[in-house]
Symmetry: C2
Subunit: 331 residues, 2 copies
């Protein structure tokens, strides 16, 4: 690929390359959710993806695209835990060693599952150390190929396959989409899905959804330039707490996305509880923010057909119990 951003053709090719290992995840519907929102909602259930999040798509695609010279010293990645599992599983499938740089305070489930996939886990302090520097240093010392979570075309083309599947399923049923709400950290899923969805639905409105206080996507797109400066501190949405939008995803999404939406920790946890009680799906807080934005009426979707991502499901039991304890049973 010699161009600067992935094309729809890149995404289609990625879909072919990941097909024998990734799960073609369903679009989940719920009459209760439709009644609460006044919309027809389709949830792209990437919590049901291999490794429990959409990250397997981009990770497997990127690792599979490495040539033999690049593969020989294995792969390295930094991740709060979902890209970690994606890269670890991809490396395991392809027979490569993997080193993953993860924050000390990542959920236990994410650390355990990454190690179980055979990766070497290097922990760092999310609040005092720079994960990019640590990862880069390992890559230079070992010669391992760096698989960035959202700054490469191959990763974004892989994430875009989630949008390709959603559009194909809906289009086959003659269903048109008005709007998509996408959980956004670095923005790789949003950028990939935007490219894929626009190919079928040129006028679809695409919103990034983030935690309050970690709204770098919202602010950056509002200002037309990449901004850091999140001031939210700790968040239950560990999967999507990133310092600023990725350069590649921002270049794709700039001028193309609708207003950024944000939700509080309480709203994210209420969505986790709603998913548990009403949808019978296990969703982690960071993977539930798009659902939370719908349940909290952050944008008027009445009468519309809406796609929202459930981007991951790797939640510790303690956090699930907390969500169920704090949220009212009948949303």
């Amino acid at each position: 690929m010699t161009h600067d951003v992935p094309t729809i053709q890149d995404i289609r090719e990625a879909a072919g390359r990941i097909a024998s290992h990734a799960v073609r995840t369903p679009l989940v519907t719920s009459p209760v959710l439709d009644a609460l929102t006044g919309a027809r909602v389709f949830l792209k259930a990437e919590n049901l993806q291999r490794t429990g999040s959409f990250k397997f798509r981009g990770a497997f695609h990127a690792v599979s695209m490495l040539d033999d010279a690049l593969r020989q010293h294995g792969v390295v990645a930094c991740s709060s835990g979902n890209h970690a599992q994606g890269v670890a599983d991809a490396a395991a499938i392809l027979g490569l060693p993997a080193t993953i740089v993860m924050p000390k305070d990542a959920p236990d489930m994410k650390k355990v599952r990454t190690k179980r996939l055979g990766a070497t886990v290097v922990e760092y302090d999310r609040y005092t150390e720079d994960r990019e520097q640590i990862t880069q240093a390992i890559a230079e010392r070992t010669g391992a190929a760096l698989i960035h979570p959202y700054e490469t075309i191959d990763v974004l083309a892989g994430q875009g396959t989630a949008g390709l599947e959603a559009a194909a399923d809906l289009d086959a049923a003659n269903i048109s989409l008005d709007r998509a709400l996408i959980c956004a950290g670095g923005g790789g899923l949003m950028a990939g899905m935007l490219l894929a969805l626009r190919d079928t639905y040129p006028d679809i409105a695409v919103h990034p959804v983030e935690p309050d206080g970690h709204d770098d996507q919202r602010r950056s797109h509002a200002m037309g330039k990449r901004l850091g400066g999140n001031n939210g501190g700790a968040s239950v949405c560990d999967a999507i707490v990133t310092p600023m939008p990725g350069a590649l995803s921002f270049s794709i999404c700039q001028g193309q996305v609708a207003e950024g939406l944000t939700v509080t920790d309480e709203e994210a946890l209420a969505a986790v509880a709603f998913a548990w009680r009403e949808l019978k799906l296990v969703v982690e807080p960071g993977g539930a923010v798009a659902l939370a934005a719908l349940l909290s009426h952050k944008v008027d979707v009445r009468g519309e057909t809406v796609l929202a991502t459930l981007s991951g499901g790797n939640i510790d039991p303690e956090m699930m119990v907390r969500a169920l304890a704090t949220a009212k049973p009948a949303t």
Copy 2:
């Protein structure tokens, strides 16, 4: 319908009648599950059905088929909680009052959700009182139409739609099925699905799966006659603890089903935990017995393509915590 058992045409017509209200549930796949079983497994995720179990299919179909004269005094049903919600929701959709006879020790979630759907709940003691008598008495006193959970053709035709969908999805992908494992209480889901699956896959082996000590299906099919005499006492699998196979489902399944499989409470809870951790699905113990039978290798499925039902997801948080606490993380 003038015949004694539902035909494939009845099931097709039922599918058309429930289509605008029921969820067309996905077949969930998992590379981890495939690796553990050595099979290609498709899980019919009826925990994602409206009301959280397959019971909505048959309940809505049966209530919708009542003529005006039968509808005028509402409906009554007995149920440990899933048929309860199905009937309550069906009655609410069609504007009828519903009375549901439920055991005192039914999971809280099932009682709360049934009441929330507008039904009047009458509790009884599962171990000392006869639910059929209580329900019949209410029907006679009030004139309400009795919606039995598995003794009517309309209910079974509705449950069969789950099999129709699974066969249609798999057949469209040119996938053949060797075997189906179906959670069995009264046997309505099994009977309906058997009829539907055999239409596409004439040679498929269909197993009822039950809790140890509540294996009336296994014993009845082995002996060729309906047997009671379960001696299992309390079970975590409340949804499928029934005194003996239903007469209608037994007449359909007699001589047609493969060996009945049974699982312990511990195996059912391990499957609940596996579904939570690995599949990211909320499944109740009684809805997890078919998965439990696969995970516990109760039948050799290596090299086969297998369908298993996840028949319901209405589990209390306390039971989920118990399942997660008792089961090893890496199955």
